[in-house]
Symmetry: C2
């Protein structure tokens, strides 16, 4: 594995060969920056498909065996499973190798993995902000990470060289890498991703419950409502895990949101046109600035 | 004006020749179902443009004069202006003519217009559920209403023949017409349109305020957040007016929504994975059913 001139990973192990893990493998292969890719998973049908599609070069269901030779191990499984997998993987990895992950919440993962670090294997917590509604090896494609952000949250226990190598890996597949504090990552994600999902789920439940004693209100939903609530169709198990893993930051954002909602409600109840106009205008100004 | 076999409006007056009014004129012209269309407005540049583009056949800034000969008058101006315009228009209209509107809130409009009905002119409250982000005569296009819903909310003061004619008018331009109670209309719109706008405005303000002491959180917003908050870029004055006009139904929906949000927050705080899963699953099930 050379970190100097040309970026190359001799042996890469992907734990969880789905959209996230499979797309990284495909992108690195396409860039000619990886030697052998081992796909590790529980389900044989998906592993066989990954092999058949050329997403990976070898497959195994044996976690410890699969990571032994790897220079880089990428954990691309659901966020709740990452700490336990890391604990099993770390003692099996070779000295000097790097463990990284793609979990969308970082605080809990770091907290639960760091006690198990021996110093021989580096851990670089990561979060490529990319995805589609699809999953499984068949959903993987090499351009998933192009022009997307990837956040790395190294701690004081992460060797700088390991962070540099993982940064180069994500840059190689086209991402803009941002390095930040674990807590900041979790607050940002709570604000721009986790809170919106909570809001969409809540809106659909609230309108749906109304429907129970009125007549088919949801039936009247036009394109706007359908677009707005699209994210409420996301995987409930995944979002349960995210909500649990990022509880603290999410509760803080929810409280802030509730306060603004309360303000808006009071302004509507008071029929305060001037305050409503300012509330909406301020939001429009902020929103237009990120267009 | 024949309501029997072939549908035809001899003289139509459109008050407010923008996207909504202009598109109705264009669609009826394209269908060959209208004789002369008079465009009425305050701004000469927009009226001249409407004339030039063939959206209308005549233009005037004199409201009472413009509606005198009309068989049907369509008020397509901002929701707050409709009652006052109706009060001025009604005495000027000829006996047997029909007044209708496109306001997105119906209760307040009906309440404020009905006392001024003399019995000689019928009023059919309506709401074509269509629109784009654009406005003005140049934004009008004949297929705006195709395959969209149009809600009519006749009251006991509305002659059935007048409702039937306005129904045919909207069907002629491709809409599916639904007739319902004024209150039901306002509750449905509060649920599927007004509440989502309030939520989007609130979300952007909450996240934006967080930004004031953190670093540029909105800058990290990926496509998902931008899509979800798109409606927070809507016209603040229009939404102030809608929030004020539909206050009661909107407050009711906001309260319901707040209750669900409180439940979700409690489940997150209690780390109740089972309840969170059920909350998200219920929402996904409801949402997938309206796909």
């Amino acid at each position: 594995m050379s970190t100097q001139d040309r970026f190359f990973i001799d042996r890469l192990a992907i734990v969880g060969v789905g959209l996230i893990g499979g797309s990284l493998a495909l992108a690195l292969k396409e860039a000619g920056c990886v030697g052998e890719v081992t796909g590790i998973g529980r389900g044989l049908p998906n592993l066989n498909l990954a092999l058949e599609l050329g997403v990976v070069d070898k497959i195994t269901r044996e976690l410890e065996e699969g990571v032994q030779q790897a220079d880089v191990v990428f954990l691309a499984t659901p966020v709740m499973t990452i700490p336990d997998l890391a604990r099993r993987v770390l003692p099996a990895m070779k000295p000097g190798a790097i463990l990284t992950d793609g979990g969308s919440v970082k605080g809990e993962i770091v907290e639960r993995i760091e006690p198990y670090l021996s110093g021989e294997v580096a851990f670089v917590p990561g979060h490529p902000i990319a995805g589609t509604e699809k999953s499984g090896a068949a959903a993987a494609f090499p351009t998933l990470y192009r022009d997307r952000r990837c956040i790395l949250t190294p701690t004081e226990r992460t060797p700088a060289a390991a962070t540099a190598l993982i940064r180069r890996m994500w840059e190689t597949v086209g991402s803009e890498v941002v390095v930040m504090d674990v807590d900041k990552h979790d607050r940002i994600l709570a604000a721009i991703s986790h809170l919106p999902h909570m809001i969409a789920y809540t809106l659909v439940n609230a309108v749906g419950s109304y429907d129970h004693f009125e007549e088919n209100i949801l039936e009247y939903s036009a394109g706007g409502f359908r677009d707005f609530t699209r994210i409420a169709s996301s995987d409930p198990a995944m979002w349960r895990d995210i909500a649990l893993s990022n509880r603290q930051a999410l509760l803080e954002m929810l409280e802030r949101y509730e306060n603004f909602l309360g303000e808006l409600k009071r302004d509507i109840a008071a029929a305060d046109g001037q305050k409503l106009f300012e509330f909406f205008l301020n939001s429009k100004t902020l929103r237009d600035a990120i267009l």
